[in-house]
Every structure is written in C-alpha cells, then in structure tokens.
Amino acid sequence: MRKFTSFFALVLLVCFAICVAAAKTSKPPIVIGAIFSITGDNAPLGVPERDTAVMLAKQLNAKGGIKGRPVKLEIYDDGGKPEQAVQACNKLLARKDVVAIIGPTLTGPSLAIAGMCNRAKMPLISCAASVKITQPVLPYVFKTAQTDSLAVERLIDYLKKHKISKVGFINDSNAFGASGREQWLVASKKAGIETIALESFNSGDTDMISQLTKIRSAKPQAIVCWGTNPGPAIVAKNMRALGMKQPLFMSHGVSNPEFIKLAGTAAEGVTFPSGKIIVAEAIPSSDPQKRVLMQYSADFKKTYGKPATHFGGHAWDAFQLVVSALEKVGPDRVKIRKAIEDTKGFVGIGGVFSFSPKDHAGLTKEAFVMVQVRNGKWTLAK
C-alpha cells in the first residue's frame, strides 16, 4: 500500500506540474505590472495605491492610451509578504509584454524583488520608503515614496525650530515603524536631539498605556510616534487618557483620513511631516505641485468617494513616470529605464522628482510639509 501511495504522490505531482504549465494568458497591448499590499496589516497603504493606479489607467485609456495603444495593468497582491511579492514578480518577469513594474508598497517585498528585477532588466518603481531600496543604486530600481529619512529630517527641522531637544520616541514594530526608528536614531543624534525614551508597540496591540507610561516618566518635551494606523491613533488616545500634555508628533504614516476617524478629538494638535496631497487646498498656488495635487485630489474623490492619501500619491508618481517614459521612448524596458533616470523636474504628488544615475529616489526634503490637525481637519503647521 505504501508503494501505491508513493506512486500516486508522484502522479499527482506531475498533474500539478501540468496544471501550472497549462495556465497561460493572452497578450494585451502595453502591460504595466503592479504589486501592492492590498491585504494584510498594511492594506491601508496598498489599497489607495491600487485604486490610484486603476483610476489613472482608466483615465489614460479614455484619452486613447499611449500613441493609440491602451495600457493594461496587471495588479498582484503581495499581502505584505516578501515571498508572495517574489512569486508575483516572477510571473511578471516571465511575461515578455510587461514593460515595467510599479510597487511593492512595502520595503520588505521591494528589497526582495529589487535584485530580481535588476537582473532581469525590468524597471521597478517601488512605492516603499526605505533608503535601502535605492542605496546602493541598482540601475533598474527606482522609488517614488519619500524616503523616511527625508520625513525624519523635515520633522527634526521643525523640532529644532520649536526648540525641542528631548524627545520620547515610540514606533510600530512593523516595517514602516521599524524603518522610521532606524532613521530617527541616526538623524536625531546628528541634530543633537536626545531620544530619552525609546519604545515600540505591535501592529496588533490594543493599548499602548504601558509604553506611554514609561515614556511619561522620562519627562520628554515632546513625543514622536512612528507608525501606521491604528497604532498611532491609540497612542494619541492613550496619551489623552493619561493626561500627557506634551506635543505629539507623528509620521506620514497617519496622513490618511482614517487617523482622524480613529483618534477622534485626541487627534487635535497632532503634527507630522506629510506629502502635500492632504493639504492640497492650503498649499500656496505658487507651489509647482499645486495644480497636480488639486487635480489628483479631485479625481480620486470623484472616483472613489474618499479623499486621496499620500500613499496613493506614490502610485500616481510611479505610474505617471512610467507613462511619460513610455510616451517618450515606447515599450522598451532598457529605454524606459534610461528615460526615467534622465527625468528631471517631474512634478508629481510626492514632490518634484529629479533622478540621476546616482539618485534613484529623486526627492528632497522639500517634498514634505508639516501638517497639523485642527478642528478635525488637516492644516499646514507653522
């Protein structure tokens, strides 16, 4: 009987192999691959990115596509898992008609596939934040998300301006928060800001009282919380509950309307560096980004009935970069890469991008503005 078993195991195995081989799809016109974290802990980041990309593709095709050829998006969900991103990336790499890949949403999956894309000469425009994606520069790997370090620097400028030198830092232990913590520790040291308490919480944690209590006892002048929802909202609420009056600073991880919904009145006064998208109206019209921001903001609101977020903006930038390269050089991966690298002064949602062979991130800290919550609304902080 055991021999039967082993024999049939193999028969089934072969059947499966045939199934894998049999599934093939037809060829669409110009295909752009995309990998986002549509499910998992980081879905609040990935979903707006997906929505933005879908919306832009639809708009583009309505206008007649690129030189008459429509664009088709192949969007995979990596669930925030590097391995799943690798699988998705491989599927895209195996197709001859994919001209570039936008995404993944997160640093881990981006790092996991960066080497692969580079080797396969497939332009990859990541929507993740970590510096490590583009440092050292891989010829085919770009990113549009503002690097954490820029956000940190922007925040530190602000702190210095307000003469805050003793800070309690708390971060989400997910990828976003851990990366922020790393950047914070480097940059704050350089700027002479002392981190007198350093704590973390888990994405699944339901209250942060113990961490905040510990921070409170260190008596910082301000508290910086680096994470994505719902953690920061809980931090804000718990701080309120604990009667902590220090100013609360956060990261661009909370620059979505969900944060205000979750934190309620506790969100009042929270200040953070953010892409300009959420304060598009308040941006002075002299700003080169103003027009693009207003346009995207209005389009997104119209299509999905919810305000645009700055994560969606990363996908906007990535998509438009690829499209503008396509318009210039046509569907050729090598030329697209070159075209993106040569892009200068590209006005996007995340900022004004200028790439070079040495800089594949293309942004400066001017991409960030400091935003403050007042009366349940985003406003520019002074």
Partner: protein, 304 residues
C-alpha cells in the same frame, strides 16, 4: 535594564496595573471559555480568540449605525452562531479524531474565521464609541476618572464590571441551574452522564455556544477600548490560553485569576522593562509553566 528603574517609573505602577487589569479581564473571559469547552470535550479550542474578534467587530460595525441595545445582542448572537459552527465541525469527527486532528481542525476554523472577517469587514481597525460617553465635536468621547494617580476610562470600568458579572453568572449557572449541573456532570464523567440520560452531544454544543457567547461579550465591551480589528483574535486567544493553563485547565476561578495576573504582568513588563519584547512575556510564562510543572498541570487529568 532593571537598574534603570527610577522612582518616577515606579510611580507609574498604578496606571500600568489598571490598564493591564482591563486586558487581563479579557484574558480571563477567554480562559473561562477555554475551560468550559475543555471540560465538556477535552478539546482545546484554538478558535476561542476569534469569538472575541467576532463580537468586537460586529459590535463596532453596528455601533456606528445603531444603538448599543441592538448592537450588543446581535454581536453576541453572531459569536454564539460561530460557536455552534465550530461545535459542528469538532463534534462531527469527534468520535475517532486524535488530539492532533482536533488541534488542526480548530486551528483551521480559527484561520477561516479570521479570513472571512477580513473579507467581510476589511483589514482596517474599526472605531467604536464607548457605551457611556460625552459628545465632543461630533465624536463620542469617553469619560475619564482619576484614581490613585492613574487615569481610568469609563469603558474600562465597563469591562471590569461585565467581567465580574460574567464570572459570577457562570458560577451561579454551573452550581444552581440544571443545565449547568448537567454540563458539569459531562465534564466529570461523560459515560456516567450519558447513562443518567444527559444528552452529551447537546451539552457539548451548549458549551461551545456558551464559550463563544462569553467571548463575544468580551469582544463587545472591549471594542471601544481597543479598536476592533480582524486580527485581534489570535493574540487575545493565546493570552487566554496561557491564563487557562496557568490557572489549571478546567478551573474557572484559577483561569480568571491567572488571566488578570497575566494582563498585569504583561503591562508591567511593557511599562517597566522592555516594550519590544512585551508580547513574548505570555509565551515565556506559558513555556516555563509547561516545562516546570508538567506533572502539576497534567495531574488533574490523570486523576480525573
């Protein structure tokens, strides 16, 4: 690290104890749920934490639309329904299933519940208004009290109150009502119970529904304190299991005490020592208890 414990830090203890107490209450209720099911079926139901999640999520979704009076019973009913579904899946193969397969089946159910909840309600955290709150700028805000240098929210009092009520209720149920005594009989000796005419299958079903209902109640009261999230169940379930083992599986009072202690210890560890490894505390305690006193934990079973 402990060298750095300052007087300031120690002054935070009341606050930590209170917030740990709230979490501990949930562990306690989950632990009681584990014990109820364990007593009647000798099964560790890995899906126990998911009942809390179902209660919390359903309540949070409904609370934004309707009043508490509608949301509370609906959420508890949803939890009970989930309990009945698990019972059916565990009951069906119960006769010849080994411990391993029971573990796997309940893990399967747990994963499935989480997946379904994610599909239905999404991944994002869902805020729920507190039971008794004040409306400030369009948001329902919780009342806060000052107590021994610590802040305590009204909702936390709700959690503690409801826990106390449930524990007392359970005690009375198992001592004073016929159904409760029948369930205890099943726990002590299934064959004997069958002989005196107790429908064991029905009792098992009842215990699952009850454990699930308890979990769902916990979920409802806690959803305004924590946010309701589809992945909240695993951590609460595992914490509850630790409490159940610490208190002695099948022992309600022990489970409740252990749950509260565990909640407080976690909170103190996070607050005074290392918040990075706070989540590992429950598991380290569990491992140590299992390893140091396996015979102590197991003896009850050997003699039963």
């Amino acid at each position: 690290m402990s060298v750095g414990l300052s007087v300031d830090l120690l002054a935070q203890v009341p606050q930590l104890v209170i917030s740990g107490f709230t979490r501990g209450c949930i562990y306690a209720i989950v632990a009681v749920g584990f014990s109820i099911i364990y007593n009647s079926t000798q099964v560790i139901n890995f899906a126990q934490g998911e009942f809390v999640m179902i209660g919390a999520v359903v309540a949070a979704v409904l609370l934004s639309k309707t009043s508490l009076l509608v949301a509370f019973p609906t959420a508890v009913a949803a939890g009970c329904l989930a309990g009945a579904v698990v019972a059916l899946f565990v009951l069906l193969p119960l006769k010849r299933a080994s411990v391993v397969s029971l573990i796997i089946i309940t893990i399967g159910t747990s994963i499935m519940f989480r997946g379904l909840a994610q599909l239905l309600w999404g991944e994002a955290a869902i805020p729920a208004p507190p039971f008794t709150g004040v409306v400030v700028q369009g948001y329902v805000e919780d009342r806060e009290f000052h107590f021994l240098g610590a802040y305590i929210r009204a909702q936390e009092l709700w959690v503690m109150g409801v826990t106390a009520l449930l524990v007392v209720g359970m005690h009375i149920f198992f001592r004073r009502t016929i159904l409760g005594q029948a369930m205890r009989a099943c726990a002590i000796n299934q064959l004997g119970a069958r002989i005196v005419g107790i429908n064991v299958r029905r009792m098992i079903m009842a215990s699952f529904v009850m454990a699930a209902g308890l979990g769902a109640v916990a979920g409802v009261v806690v959803s305004p304190v924590f946010y309701a999230k589809c992945n909240m169940g695993t951590a609460l379930g595992l914490g509850g299991f630790c409490a159940a083992v610490l208190g002695g599986l099948g022992n309600f009072a022990g489970g409740v005490a252990a749950g509260i202690i565990l909640g407080i210890v976690e909170s103190l560890t996070g607050g005074l020592l290392w918040s990075d490894y706070k989540d590992a505390v429950a598991f380290v305690i569990l491992l140590v208890i299992l390893l140091l006193r396996p015979e102590g934990v197991l003896r009850r079973r050997a003699e039963a």
